[in-house]
């Protein structure tokens, strides 16, 4: 199930105006909900309740209907991504080499669960499918950087995270 963000909403009036303008023009067209959600996610980066309420109002649908669509399609996210997005590969090759344990260690170190983002918006953590670097298993990525051949005990993690201290 999709992770629902507990972070406080930090949308700006400009963002809201942009979304409302789009909805004003397109919201009542048939099939508007999908593109509306796409546009909203482009603006906000994710889809919290505050945003879904605007989309529901603008498309004349109920909040639950919009939520149902947002959770049906994989492309929509209900929680924000951090400045540094950590994705731990749980593909078969990585998994047998202990990436599950690494994910658990990262959850512990970052204080957030899989699918969450830190309150200050710095790190977000998610599991991913095979990213095609099986030779390096187990693997995780921080934005574009790939870290592989990691030790199961997680002893390298602190040093890696320290690189993103800014």
């Amino acid at each position: 199930m999709k992770k629902i963000s507990k972070l406080p909403f930090s949308g700006t009036p400009e963002q809201e105006a942009q979304l409302r303008a789009w909805l004003e023009e397109n919201g009542k067209k048939p099939g508007a909900a999908m593109p509306a959600l796409q546009f909203a996610q482009e603006i906000y980066g994710y889809l919290p309740v505050e945003v879904l309420r605007i989309v529901a109002e603008g498309t004349g649908r109920s909040l639950e209907e919009i939520y149902g669509i947002a959770t049906f399609y994989a492309q929509f996210s209900l929680s924000p991504k951090g400045k540094y997005k950590i994705a731990v590969c749980l593909g078969t090759a990585c998994y047998v080499k202990g990436s599950g344990k690494i994910l658990a260690k990262l959850e512990e170190k970052l204080g957030i669960a899989n699918g969450d983002c830190q309150l200050d918006g710095k790190f977000s953590l998610e599991a991913s499918r095979c990213i095609g670097a099986c030779g390096l298993a187990p693997v995780f990525t921080v934005n574009e950087d790939v870290y592989g051949r990691l030790k199961e005990d997680g002893s390298e993690l602190d040093a890696i995270l320290a690189k993103y201290r800014d």
Binding site: I4, R61, S62, L63, E64, Y67, T71, F72, L78
Partner: protein
């Protein structure tokens, strides 16, 4: 109308072009099983239990949505069809919590019946890992148990289409698909109005009322309590269905006898309080109409509607009649006037209400509903729960004699009885308002224009004592939304509007006996049930609320005039704007 000829299992039938195979088969006297299909509101062709073979076509088609064509030959019961349906059922059962023995719907469950009809011997054929869903029992009126949900989405259509609310729907996808509210909020934290329309359309035990019968049994067993029961206008028109009587049978006499045998100290009629409501509401209407006040006046008998108004149209709160609903007026009078007359302490009186409605469970806990300092009504149970009590007590319902309600709060006029159908409150109010305005007896007490359960919005203009009164009777909340939006935008003007949350009124309430889709899709449930009440009214000599002698005695001995200060303290209430939640 263009007609086409088709053959169903070799039987030729003629049906209007555009009919579905399901409809043509019905005409040929053949039932095709359905699970997801509900005429007009849920035509999604998703469950595929209704598959049939069509001559000349390779695959099977879904009979519920597939239109017939001239000359079409359909086979509804071939080996291939039976196999497909059986497999389909086995797959549904593989994720189903098969707890039939303890299930509220056992015996009238559409899934259970199909499993039996199709001879599913191995109900665990495809079982494996399953999702685990917690039961959502957060709300006062109902619970949802997704472990028994077959994802037919009938409830979603009832909530979203019929009622225009949409607080429940399908979330996530694939194996994780489930019915819930936005952001997985418990129902209590949504703007569900407690109408229960989702319950009566659910084919299984996945949604049901909160059972309050234990509270009633406990009260009946307590010798220190004086337990009285009131039955709503529509119960007499539906209760018989729970005991296999034909739809539309009026069982008032047996209902009273059953209640007496359950051990209630007094068996009273909510219809007495319906007449009382008319006295207060007609007075309120005439006052606002002649002296000013928020107009149109809108009725407040239906707690699902009241909650809807408070949540979605709070700007209309001043228009709501300040009258308590008949259920609550009854309780208020029982714990003041009746208590005094009987020399009872209101704290020792337990008022049980048998209602067509699950929102009544919410209503008993509302603020400003305690005329005697204790809640006006203690327990509200649905028609279904009442039937379960009768069943449990071993009372042979069909063999009961017909008995009469007890005195003091047991008399009712025909006007009180028709409260149970959409338009009934309006008609009852007009009968009284007309005679008060003109000072003359009405020649004809019928106001036909506001009758009927087929239309969700009925409008009429009447001239009473030279005054023009524009009225509307609305049922189903999607219709309420339509009409209130028009009034708000100045596109329509009325003086008096009746709103019932449930389509067709209380006779089709969320607490009424369940009927399978095979009945709902083909039988006019609403008009049959409403017919029982109109027939009763027609046969009576007492047809106007203000002629009710017990109501007259109540005013004379206790309340004074309709609309008096005392009447206001006891019979009227207040409303609150509610924020839209999830």
């Amino acid at each position: 109308m263009d007609m086409v000829k088709v053959k169903i299992n070799g039987i030729e039938v003629e049906v209007p072009a555009g009919s579905t195979i399901l409809e043509a088969a019905y005409k040929a006297g053949i039932d095709i099983p359905t699970l997801c299909y509900l005429k007009d509101i849920n035509e999604i062709g998703a469950c595929r239990i209704c598959v049939v073979e069509v001559k000349g076509m390779r695959g099977m088609v879904t009979a519920c949505v597939y239109p017939v064509a001239d000359g079409m030959e359909v086979f509804t019961n071939t080996e291939k069809v039976q196999k497909a349906r059986k497999m389909n059922l086995e797959l549904v059962l593989s994720t189903h919590n098969q707890d039939c023995l303890g299930c509220v719907r056992s015996g009238d469950c559409e899934l259970q019946k199909l499993a039996k009809d199709y001879g599913i011997k191995d109900t665990k054929a495809w079982s494996g890992m399953n999702m685990e869903w917690p039961v959502d029992d957060s709300a006062a009126h109902m619970y949802r148990d997704n472990s028994k949900c077959i994802l037919c989405r009938r409830c979603v259509a009832a909530c979203g289409v019929t009622q225009g609310i949409g607080v429940i729907g399908a979330n996530e996808r694939g194996f994780e698909t489930h019915i819930a509210s936005a952001f997985e909020q418990p129902l209590d934290n949504t703007s569900c109005v407690s109408c229960g329309q989702c319950i009566v359309v659910c084919p299984t035990g996945a949604i049901a009322e909160k059972d309050d019968t234990d509270k009633v049994w406990a009260a009946l067993a307590d010798p220190t309590k004086h337990v009285v029961v009131q039955t709503a206008p529509s119960i007499r028109a539906t209760l018989g269905e729970c005991f296999n009587m034909p739809i539309g049978t009026n069982v008032q006499g047996k209902m009273v006898a059953a209640a007496r045998r359950l051990g209630f100290d007094k068996v009273f009629d909510t219809d007495f309080a319906a007449d009382l409501t008319i006295m207060e509401e007609a007075t309120e209407f005439l006052h606002r109409f002649t002296e000013g006040g928020a107009m149109p006046l809108i009725t407040s008998c239906s707690p699902g509607w009241v909650k809807y108004c408070e949540t979605y149209f709070p700007d209309f709160i001043p228009n709501l009649s300040s009258c308590k609903s008949p259920q609550q007026m009854f309780g208020a009078v029982a714990k003041t006037y009746y208590a005094q007359k009987m020399g009872l302490d209101p704290k020792d009186i337990v008022v049980v209400a048998v209602m067509p409605c699950v929102a009544k469970k919410f209503e008993v806990g509302r603020e400003d509903q305690s005329a005697a300092g204790v809640p006006d009504v203690d327990v509200a149970i649905t028609t279904r729960e009442f039937a379960r009590m009768i069943e449990k007590a071993g009372i042979k319902f069909d063999r009961l004699p017909d008995e009469d309600f007890d005195k003091v709060m047991g008399e009712a006029s025909g006007a009180g009885h028709i409260f149970g159908a959409s338009g009934g409150v309006m008609e009852a109010a007009l009968r009284t308002a007309a005679e008060v305005l003109t000072g003359k007896e009405l020649e004809k007490p019928e106001f036909m224009e506001v009758r009927g359960t087929d239309k969700g919005i009925k409008e009429a203009v009447y001239t009473l004592a030279g005054k023009t009164i524009r009225v509307a009777a609305v049922s189903g909340l999607a219709n309420a939304k339509e009409i209130l939006t028009k009034v708000r935008n100045g596109e329509a003007q009325y003086d008096f509007i009746e709103v019932m949350a449930c389509p067709g009124g209380c006779i089709n309430g969320g607490g009424q006996p369940t009927q399978p889709a095979s009945v709902r899709n083909f039988v006019d449930l609403k008009s049959l049930r409403a017919g029982a009440l109109y027939t009763q009214d027609e046969r009576m000599t007492l047809r106007k609320s203000h002629m009710n002698q017990e109501v007259q005695a109540l005013y004379k001995e206790f309340l004074g005039e309709p609309g008096s200060h005392k009447a206001h303290e006891i019979l009227h209430t207040s409303y609150v704007a509610r924020p839209i939640k999830y």
